[in-house]
């Protein structure tokens, strides 16, 4: 092979190699190009899908904004259906019972945080017995003594009709410093959460509200201001809270015949035999809750309050009424009612008077778990002991709780709440309280169908079981038994609250001769299911 032939042959080889390389490159490029196109197509498809999703999401968001953008309240629900079996045993041995009282209670809770310092809270409520009727005549009974059933203090605790009422509505301002000091504080005005406070909340597995429930458990319009002192004192959980408000107003309603709308009430008109003077005043209350110590496990809480111008019946007027009533009953018994006796009974119907003032004090120790991780059972066991005192200050010429003197009453209350060893997540609790002769708590709104057990002048015991069914539903069983030592446990503050000794046979006989047959013992078995979310 010549050199030129060799070069020519090599050139041809190179040409072939280059050609092959070009073909390979071209093929690869074409393939790559084809792959990229596929990927681009896939991406475009994905983008289109995402765009569609985004459009859909935007549309949904717009709908949500239209629906909720101006909605400045967040709602929660507490709906309870309860079955109560009640029995009252009177001093004569006669009983009164209702083996199946069924009720629905709805609380629509409202809340909103427009900014870091301000909160609004509210609660709409209705509490209604199954089959109950408008204006609460207790449906098909003929008992007309329902005037107090719409009393403002217990509007949402008495079984009424199906009207929704405002149980709570208040705003609350809070700040981390007070006038430059390290004292976090709050200020709040409105219809405050003054029912179901610490102690009584445990049997319903509820978060406790503001006051200690040993002395105060009623709805209330007023203000509160809390100062948290732990940073400046170095004492864990120390705080002081001012609470004040108006329990009852003496203002007349609108559209008075004499044009004096909202003036102070003139409760005994001349044409009803009165002197036309006003006998009641606004019932105002003021006090404080002082917490000397609260480390989250062990706490001591105290509550002092003074209520002015409390209402009740005058002793003489009540006696006149009872005499007239006795005469009327005798007429009925004889079968002929003297019209004059009927008129006398109507005229003798007593009116509320301003009977005086009262001070209330509570000290409660609570353990949220016993010991420090001794075992799971003790860690999860709650215990409290509470002691309370009330002291009356009768107005001139009036009696409070049947006495013209200042009378002191006391009450002790113990409670324990622990895991139920027999069921998963169930809890059981036992409570005991005993009140003295002149014990007079303001606990009319307590959620006990046979009357406030805390108000008992005598002994009350209770056992309960609560069990969460899921994160919204819970089941509750409760048995309450009250043994009264004295009458008047759930009365107001005047002569109607006179404590007659029910363990004294002679006193009981006198009461019965006067036509009275007070309740000696009462029981309430309750089963309920609650939805809370």
């Amino acid at each position: 092979m010549t050199k030129s032939q060799f070069i020519e042959k090599k050139g041809e080889k190179m040409k072939k190699t280059i050609a092959l390389s070009l073909v390979t490159v071209l093929a690869t490029t074409m393939y790559a190009s084809s792959d990229t196109d596929t990927k681009i197509a896939e991406l475009e498809a994905k983008l289109q899908k995402l765009e569609k999703k985004l459009q859909s999401t935007n549309k949904t968001l717009t709908n949500v904004k239209i629906h909720d953008g101006q909605d400045d309240i967040k709602w929660d629900v507490d709906f309870r259906t309860a079955f109560d079996s009640l029995e009252y045993t009177k001093t004569s041995g006669k009983t009164a019972k209702n083996s199946d009282l069924l009720t629905n209670r709805l609380w629509l809770g409202m809340g909103y945080n427009p900014n870091d310092n301000t909160i609004f809270r509210g609660k709409l409520s209705y509490m209604k017995a199954y089959g109950d009727s408008m204006n609460h005549s207790q449906a098909n009974t003929t008992d007309g003594a329902t005037a107090y059933n719409t009393f403002d203090w217990v509007t949402n605790e008495n079984a009424n009709d199906n009207t929704v009422k405002v149980k709570e509505a208040y705003w609350l301002y809070m700040n981390d410093t007070f006038m430059g000091s390290e004292v976090p504080w709050t200020f709040s005005i409105g219809r405050r959460p003054s029912t179901d406070g610490l102690g009584i909340n445990m049997r319903e597995a509820m978060v406790d509200n503001s006051p200690l429930s040993h002395t105060v458990n009623v709805e209330f319009d007023g203000l509160s201001s809390l100062f948290t002192l732990e940073k400046v004192t170095g004492v864990s959980g120390m705080s002081w809270k001012l609470c004040t408000g108006r329990g009852l107003t003496n203002a007349k309603p609108r559209f008075q015949m004499d044009g004096t709308d909202y003036a102070a009430a003139n409760d005994t008109a001349p044409w009803l035999g009165g002197d036309g003077a006003s006998h009641t005043e606004d019932v105002d209350m003021y006090g404080f809750i002082f917490v000397p110590y609260d480390n989250g496990q062990y706490s001591l809480k105290t509550n002092w309050a003074k209520a002015d111008n409390l209402i009740g019946f005058n002793g003489q007027e009540l006696q006149n009424f009872q005499t007239a009533y006795g005469t009327y009953l005798q007429d009925l018994s004889d079968g002929t009612v003297d019209p004059q006796n009927a008129i006398n009974l109507q005229l003798a119907t007593p009116q509320f008077r301003n009977v005086g003032d009262m001070e209330l004090f509570t000290a409660m120790f609570k353990a949220e778990g016993i010991g420090d991780e001794i075992n799971d059972f003790l860690d999860d066991t709650k215990f409290f002991i509470s002691w309370a005192q009330t002291k009356t200050d009768p107005a001139d010429g009036q009696t409070m709780l049947g006495s013209t003197e200042s009378e002191t009453g006391t009450s002790t209350w113990l409670g324990v709440n622990m895991p139920c060893p027999l069921t998963d997540n169930g809890r059981i609790g036992f409570e005991w309280n005993k009140g003295s002769k002149y014990w007079r708590s303001v606990t009319y709104a307590e959620d006990t169908m046979v009357g406030s057990k805390i108000a008992t002048r005598g002994t009350a015991v209770e056992a309960y079981y609560t069990k969460p069914i899921n994160n919204a539903l819970s089941f509750n069983l409760r048995y309450t038994k009250i043994d009264y030592d004295y009458t008047g446990s759930n009365s107001f503050f005047g002569a109607e609250g006179t404590p007659y000794d029910l363990n004294n046979a002679a006193v009981v006989q006198q009461l019965q001769q006067a036509g009275q047959d007070p309740v000696k013992e009462s029981t309430d078995f309750r089963a309920s299911i609650s939805y809370r979310f």
Partner: protein, 105 residues
């Protein structure tokens, strides 16, 4: 006791016995925080819950890092027991920064 009441009571008991049981509890979580961690953190449980959104708390919980996150946010916390975590998580989730739920006062 009347038939209606008997039926309702029996139904309630049967329903309770036949239902699944909830395991965690936001109220218990709140109490646990106050009892065990408030002092170490120097702030209340609502502040802790507000440190994250609900999605963030959910993600942290899914990764099993609730205790770790608590110790990061509150270096004084030495240990968080496993049995407390479900209750604490329920509480944090309920009062997370975007929950819209208003803390009790």
């Amino acid at each position: 006791m009347k038939t209606l009441s008997k039926l309702m009571l029996a139904g309630a008991v049967a329903f309770t016995l036949g239902s699944t049981v909830a395991s965690a509890n936001a109220i218990k979580g709140q109490k646990l925080f106050i009892k065990k961690y408030k002092e170490a953190c120097g702030f209340n449980g609502a502040v802790m819950a507000g440190k994250h959104t609900q999605n963030e708390w959910e993600a942290i919980n899914d990764e099993g890092k609730i205790a770790e996150e608590m110790m990061k946010l509150c270096p004084n916390i030495k240990k968080v027991k496993d049995k407390y975590v479900p209750h604490l998580y329920d509480f944090y989730y309920k009062y997370a920064s975007d929950s819209g739920n208003v803390p009790s006062c």
